[in-house]
């Protein structure tokens, strides 16, 4: 439990950004460019998480430029994308999860302070390593006649590929240990709880599970 509680987590994540139903490889050869508009969903954006796959010996390098929707450059930096192959002892076989199946890892890209509403993420591969760096994309679902408004895919597409969306997830707020976010977790959970489980019943349920579990632990310590 301790590693989970100490893991740094951001205050919030972007919603409805990744589509696992039509996810596919987006190969990026040396010199290739990808430009993806990103609609920020909250104030205080912190980073963009970019899934990728890279099996080269040395890190692949990308120039990451972030500009505002008016075209003004907000930041420009180099990012190194390390090899994504995991040791066999940790992943003796894929666990069936999408990212593991795709052999992907996540590269965080820092969003400059002051970015708001919409930013343009421009990625240029600048290394000369042999091999293809793979990013991931999904298809923008076309709207059909009579389709309910809530089910329309409103994501912004890549400039170079107008029918596809780069797979990424935005994060908001500076990361802090997960235990510090426990009140947020509880308040969000509480907001979806049914009326017969008002505050603090879910919290008490958790305490009761832990207490009963520990009680049973003590009970089994004695010969019965």
């Amino acid at each position: 439990m301790a590693p989970i509680l100490l893991t740094p987590v951001s205050a919030d994540r972007g919603r409805n950004e990744i589509d696992l139903l039509s996810i596919h490889d987006l190969p990026l050869t040396s010199g290739a460019v990808v430009t993806q508009p990103v609609e920020l969903q909250n104030p205080d954006p912190y980073q963009i998480d970019l899934p990728y796959r890279w099996e080269g010996q040395h890190p692949a390098r990308l120039q990451v430029a972030i500009s505002g929707s008016d075209g003004a450059l907000l930041s420009e930096e180099m990012a190194a994308f390390n090899n994504t192959t995991s040791p066999d002892w940790l992943e003796p076989a894929g666990d069936g999860s999408v990212w593991q199946h795709l052999g992907a890892k996540i590269q965080p890209l820092r969003v400059p302070p002051g970015a708001a509403n919409e930013i343009i993420l421009r990625l240029t591969r600048v290394d000369r390593e042999p091999g293809t760096l793979v990013l991931f994309a999904s298809n923008k679902m076309p709207a059909t006649a009579g389709q309910p408004a809530f089910s329309i895919d409103s994501r912004l597409t890549m400039v170079e590929r107008p029918a596809e969306v780069l797979e990424f997830e935005s994060e908001y707020g500076k990361p802090r240990p997960a235990w510090q976010k426990v009140p947020t977790y509880f308040s969000r959970l509480q907001s979806l709880a049914p009326p017969w489980l008002p505050f603090p019943v879910p919290e008490l349920l958790l305490l009761l599970v832990v207490a009963t579990g520990l009680g049973l632990y003590i009970l089994t310590l004695r010969p019965i």
Binding site: L20, N42, D95, P148, F150, R188, P202, L208, L216, L219
Partner: protein, 452 residues
Amino acid sequence: MAVIVLALTKGLLWAVTIPGWYGPDEPSHFAYIQGIVEDHMIPIRPDVNASLYYPFEIGCSENRLGIGPLGPFHAEPPFGATGSNCSQSATSSRHASAPVNAAASYDPIYYLGAVPFYLLATSQVVETRLAATRLWSVLLGVLSAVLAFLAFRLAFEESTGTALAATVLFILQPMNSQQTAVINNDALLIALAAAFWWRFYHSIRYGVTLRNAILLGLLVGLAYLAKPQGLFLAATLPVLFALTIRRDSLGVTIRGVARLTAASAAPVIGALALGQLVSVLAGRTSLLIPSAPGLHGVQQYLQAYGANHLERVYTVFVAGFWGNFGWNQVSLPDSLYVLIVFLTVIGLVGCGRLLLRPLSLRSLVVSSAVGVLVAAALIQLLELYAFRISGSLILQGRSFLMLLIPVIVLLLLGWQRLLPRAAGWGLAPATVMLALTLNLVSLARMVDVFYG
């Protein structure tokens, strides 16, 4: 009493932690129940696009809870983002536009049991009705915990502590926790299977009677009506009868096994006939869409399991059986899966060593192992059958949860065998602590993905 408190509090906690509609196939199972109450009918046609025909309020509610056009597979509730675009009139629509449902091939036994819980909140919004209906699965989870305790008491007659630890592992097994907290007919199958294994181990201990054989058959029949793979529990019965019957002579033994098998088969055949009757009366059709002949043979099936370093084997029997939650959005940490594999292998090695010695535990090990292997093999064959017809791989790890009780018996017996005698006292508390930690880690992972 502690078992009931743990099962109930854990069930309620999981039911409130997994957001509405985030249980696997939950919209379909809920729409089935809602159709019985609001439209007075059961669905007759399964369809992969069945959600198009569900009451509009379900789609709206899914959208409110973050499941949008991109499907549920990487969705989280939005919290503070813009709300649903559904109008008030749309959200009040409770009626399906056609009797089409992805769960239409299932008999209505689980869904009819859920109706009173739906009615408890009938005047409420759809999310509240969904939460109320989940209580049916939670209660089935409590029932299965009690029945599992009775089964483990018989399997570990010499140690109540081990039986208690086995029950705690059963209650807190993460996938079992999910399936008895969301709307899904797995919950009823798990409860009926727990009753089956209780009577199974009772027969191992005290010998099988005609009455017990009929009861076992009845439980298999009900399990079949809950979910078709429940039928495969029946395959363990002839083995049970052969192991437990008094062996006066070969002829008497064969006649005895045949008599008990016939007695247990009667209610199973009755359940099959009842299921068929409901199917004919309702005019149900098959979900499997035939693929072109020759495309999906045994070789392709084996290839699907062998590809990517046996990825599907690992997905089904490790990740999917222990911890791929929601619509597979939430997974346990890799290192935990490795630990689970390690402990399972240790347990099986211990069982193997038990078989090598003439011990009183041998019949318990053999019957549990045969029970697991035969039923699991038949479930696998069912998938092969579906694959040959349609090319679909239908199994998930949770498809094998009805075998959780004998699996736990085997693991604990195996661990017990390998532990030095002086350290044997520690097995039960270590199992309880392991199960509690596993459950809390699962909850923490879900909370971070769904509410982070």
